[in-house]
């Protein structure tokens, strides 16, 4: 009897552990919802909160300014999948896009890098839990990303077919990317 009970207890413990791990995995796989904070202006704006996913589309002289990472974007069209301020998981900016993002050193809380990008298509999305900025070549116009080390003012310029920048890890990946280093202003 004792050995049977011990077996049952062990079995329940194993099942419990499996369920907990599954819950952890499910939580990790769910995109983290980051509340959007900022101001937008444009000539034209459309929204549909009933569509799935919901959409907010801005056209003409679009300008976005957000205190989150000191972000600014200008472009011809900006589209989000906003259901509410708390549930934006993607932003697509297209047409003469220019953006600027300043990241902060988590340890010191001070700005460490400024990223300035230009291109015809810039997409921001949450992949898993990581916010990714994706830039792609459109109509023969290659994206360009300039990274400035704010401590040294050294700049690294990336241009190529595609550039992905992970805002969480700081990793930049690209396809057919050209790299160019220079002192700022030179």
């Amino acid at each position: 009897m004792k050995s049977k009970r011990a077996f049952l207890v062990a079995l329940l413990a194993i099942l419990g552990a499996i369920i907990l791990q599954a819950l952890d995995f499910a939580q990790a796989a769910t995109p983290k919802k980051v509340p959007f904070v900022g101001d937008l202006s444009a000539d034209h704006f459309r929204f549909d909160t009933k569509q799935t996913p919901a959409t907010m589309t801005y056209d003409g002289h679009v300008k976005l300014i957000s205190p989150v990472n000191n972000t600014s974007i200008t472009c011809d069209q900006l589209k989000t999948n906003a259901v509410s301020r708390d549930e934006i998981t993607s932003i697509d900016a297209s047409g003469h896009v220019k953006f600027s993002v300043t990241t902060v050193d988590k340890a010191t809380g001070k700005p460490n890098y400024r990223f300035e990008g230009a291109g015809e298509l810039v997409q921001y999305s949450l992949v898993g839990t990581a916010p990714i900025v994706h830039m792609a070549k459109v109509n023969g116009v290659a994206p360009r990303l300039t990274m400035t080390d704010l401590a040294s003012n050294k700049q690294t310029i990336f241009s190529g077919e595609e550039i992905d920048y992970n805002l969480e890890s700081g990793v930049i990946e690209g396809k057919m990317v050209n790299l160019h280093n220079q002192e700022n202003g030179q």
Partner: protein, 179 residues
């Protein structure tokens, strides 16, 4: 004359503007002007008389003109319906409405304020027009608030329940901490 009768009947608690007030138990006689208009105060309009409701309005003053189905209102509060279900409440300083052929067109102006029934979406505007048959609200100098957003624009077109919109001119969006 059915539309006029419906206003007068709905104005059960109405006051006449010219004649001596009638006793409460007697339906009031509206004040008929020489140009054919009829004015009723503190009154209510419901349209249509039968079938799915399209709108209900309560106003400080309702003036029914000689044109069939046309009314002018002051200090107005409306309830707008879609497929017989109430979807929006609107108030304004005044406005006009035309009730005809099972449809209503409403034009309101001055401190227009509209709110959906769940009180999640709110629209304020200088002018507001609603065409029931098209499920369409058009408004001027708009301020739409809801879902953590605060949108302003020179003009906009919306679904009656305010869940869809198309805004033009000096569009500005701000995020808000709460609704």
């Amino acid at each position: 004359m059915i539309w006029l009768a419906s206003i007068v009947l709905a104005a059960g608690c109405g006051k006449r503007t010219r004649n001596t007030p009638a006793p409460p138990s007697v339906p009031p006689n509206p004040a008929a002007m020489s140009d054919g208009t009829v004015t009723v105060t503190d009154s209510r309009i419901e349209y249509p008389d039968s079938g799915p409701r399209i709108w209900v309005a309560e106003a400080g003053t309702i003036i029914a003109s000689a044109e069939p189905g046309a009314v002018k209102m002051t200090k107005v509060s409306c309830r707008l319906y879609q497929r017989g279900m109430e979807v929006l409440r609107v108030s304004a300083d005044g406005g006009d409405a035309i009730q005809q052929d099972g449809a209503v067109q409403v034009s309101l102006a001055g401190h227009v304020r509209a709110e959906d029934l769940r009180r999640e979406l709110r629209l304020t505007a200088d002018r507001f027009e609603w065409a029931s048959q098209h499920d369409r609200v058009s408004a001027v100098n708009i301020h739409w608030i809801g879902l953590g957003f605060d949108h302003r624009a020179d003009r906009g077109i919306f679904s009656t329940d305010l869940t869809r919109g198309d805004c033009r001119g000096h569009v500005k969006t701000k995020t808000t901490v709460s609704n």
